[in-house]
């Protein structure tokens, strides 16, 4: 049955549906509905909820529960996610599965509490110290928030790797009708490495410390092989109207919704606008972007940042077509009119001008 939920609440309930019974968090706007929801639900289902003394403590509690073999989650928003980076590096280094939700807000510093996508670099390039990746999933609707949180736990367990949900204030606070789908049980590896007490077996050690020369390099090589497997098997994206498109927009999450509206408005024109919406930001869907870049006049990347994902788009395109950028910063969300104006500006095609009239189309 459909219900009206905020993205934050949907993320929380989806985690519970996925079997997460350990949630640790610290209040920060705009993800408060999530921590509040967990404080209400966890006791009802025999789970554990702690309002931690800091985001640092919260991520380390997640580390503990993950090491103990359980599905664990924390959530925060940009400044709090910065604080968690130490813990995320340790989680990656100890190969612990967990889910971290970042409901991004404007930055840098305390910034503001409105929607932003300015934590892209932090999320997909590692964020903390060391050579590591978190799997990063970017929902663009409340339904997709629920679906991706559910999948995040499976991905985390499959690869023994932290998974980040990269949302923003709009996706977190937006209410939409959604439902929790029944899912087939996945065949996931047993957590034979977890800390359960060494009764009748050799002891397990969960650690990221490799002081003996050569061991750390060997471990890093193992990590890189794992990341390569993730890049090969877990890329997700959505394309809209990219077939025969003159220009293709690349956008994720909230920005992608705006771009999808632009695509809709352009449907009746000769000038075709397409959209590639990365769902996994890491691994990045570079293959499809490269392929499509060979057939279009240009690409326009739209973000709520000063230009972060656009760097990965350019790396994927390898100069095969011009890559333009339109961004809003400091909590601004692009409108379809602004995106259309930018298209008209970057496309050397008079047809694009007709799009301008479309800006009036509702």
């Amino acid at each position: 049955m459909k219900q009206l939920m905020t993205g934050n609440e949907a993320a929380a309930e989806a985690a519970i549906v996925a079997g997460c019974r350990y949630y640790y968090g610290y209040p920060i706007t705009p993800q408060n509905e999530l921590i509040n929801y967990m404080s209400m639900r966890m006791p009802q289902i025999g789970g554990s909820f702690i309002q931690a003394e800091s985001e640092i403590a919260a991520i380390n509690m997640v580390y503990g529960s993950a090491a103990a073999g359980a599905r664990a989650m924390t959530s925060s928003s940009s400044p709090g996610i910065s604080l968690k980076q130490e813990g995320i590096s340790y989680l990656a280094g100890s190969e612990l599965p967990c889910v971290i939700v970042n409901i991004q807000r404007g930055g840098p510093g305390l910034g503001d509490i409105s929607a932003s996508q300015a934590d892209y670099f932090q999320a997909v390039k590692g964020g903390g110290h060391g050579d590591y990746h978190t799997i990063v999933l970017a929902p663009s609707s409340v339904q997709e928030m629920a679906d991706l949180v559910y999948d995040a736990f499976d991905l985390a367990d499959k690869y023994r790797n932290p998974v980040m949900i990269l949302g923003d204030a709009q996706i977190g606070q937006l209410m939409e009708p959604m439902e929790f789908h029944k899912r087939p049980k996945k065949n996931l590896p047993q957590k034979t490495w977890s800390l359960t007490g060494a009764e009748g077996r050799k002891r397990n050690i969960v650690k990221s410390f490799y002081p003996v020369k050569g061991q750390l390099e060997e471990f890093n090589a193992h990590l890189q092989r794992k990341y390569k497997a993730i890049e090969e098997h877990e890329v997700r994206y959505e394309t809209v109207n990219t077939h025969k498109a003159d220009i293709v927009l690349v956008a994720y999450g909230t920005s992608a919704r705006v771009c999808a509206d632009v695509v809709r408005k352009s449907r009746q024109l000769e000038f075709k606008v397409g959209l590639i919406r990365p769902i996994t930001l890491w691994p990045f869907p570079k293959e499809i972007i490269r392929k499509i870049s060979e057939k279009v006049q240009c690409i326009l990347t739209v973000e709520m940042s000063a230009g972060q994902m656009v760097e990965d788009v350019r790396l994927a395109v390898e100069g095969k077509c011009p890559v333009h950028f339109y961004g809003r910063t400091g909590g601004g969300v692009p409108t379809s009119t602004q995106v259309i104006k930018k298209i008209v500006e970057v496309v050397p095609d008079n047809l694009a001008n007709t799009l301008l009239q479309l800006a009036e189309v509702r």
């Binding site: 350990y22 640092i56 403590a57 380390n60 580390y63 503990g64 800390l195 359960t196 050690i205």
Partner: protein, 246 residues
């Protein structure tokens, strides 16, 4: 023939990385003895800190977890919530517990987490070449207090047991030392009391152990033991600081 003295089974037979005269080996051995005697190897999970005891998992044959610097109380909390009937202990030094991890230990204590904390206080950062610790004595020379800790610029030694004693969630707090065979026996008793507090689900316990660091105290082993009795115990008086287990 009956063996009078043996290596505990849980204590792994390997050379340690500890310096000569260091107290860590004694404490780890005491933990191993208790685990053996009580038969709890299969349900015990330990946490190693960052600092001199970072390699504690090399010496104890039990499930063990590393934690980031100062974070063992938070990590232990996460483990204990999943395995409430296991014995979970965190092994921490003074820099780990009383400087970078101050928030974590205070809040774990305040929540009354049913976990045993073993706090090895040697008043100096050993792993990083002997800098000032939060528990460094006034006047003590370290790498970062070359003319001795003066309280005007560097503050005062933090008395962790006393600090935690005012929190409603802490149940058992005792300070012991390794300065003599008698004190080592008392340390073992205190550790037993700490584990017992947890097993009986009576809440947060912390055993603070004054432990020698001859290298960075610039003393020989005997002087270091005397220093614990004559100097350190003045700032950090031995004894039970709080017992709410009754």
């Amino acid at each position: 023939m009956k063996a009078l003295y043996e290596k505990p089974k849980t204590f792994i037979d390997t050379p340690t990385h500890f310096c000569p005269g260091c107290g860590h080996g004694i404490v780890l051995r005491l933990i191993a003895e208790i685990i053996d005697a009580w038969g709890i190897r299969g349900k015990t999970i330990g946490l190693a800190p960052v600092g001199c005891a970072v390699l504690a998992y090399n010496y104890l044959d039990i499930d063990m977890c590393e934690a980031a610097h100062g974070r063992p109380p938070a990590v232990a909390t996460g483990i204990k919530r999943v395995h409430p009937d296991h014995v979970v202990f965190a092994y921490q030094g003074d820099g780990d517990l009383a400087a970078i991890g101050t928030a974590e230990i205070i809040h774990a204590a305040n929540r009354g987490e049913n976990i045993t904390f073993i706090f090895v206080n040697n008043a100096v950062y050993g792993m990083t070449n002997g800098q000032m610790a939060p528990t460094t004595l006034v006047g003590q020379k370290t790498a970062t207090t070359p003319s001795g800790r003066d309280s005007i610029n560097y503050g005062h030694p933090i008395r962790v047991c006393e600090l935690l004693s005012v929190l409603g969630g802490s149940s058992y707090l005792e300070r012991v030392s390794l300065s003599s065979p008698e004190n080592v026996r008392k340390t073992k008793k205190a550790l037993e009391k700490g584990f017992k507090t947890q097993i009986e689900k009576r809440g947060f316990s912390l055993i603070e152990i004054l432990s020698p660091c001859p290298i960075y105290w610039r003393m020989d082993a005997n002087e270091a033991m005397r220093h614990i009795d004559e100097e350190m115990s003045k700032t950090f008086p031995l004894g039970v600081v709080k017992d709410w287990t009754q």
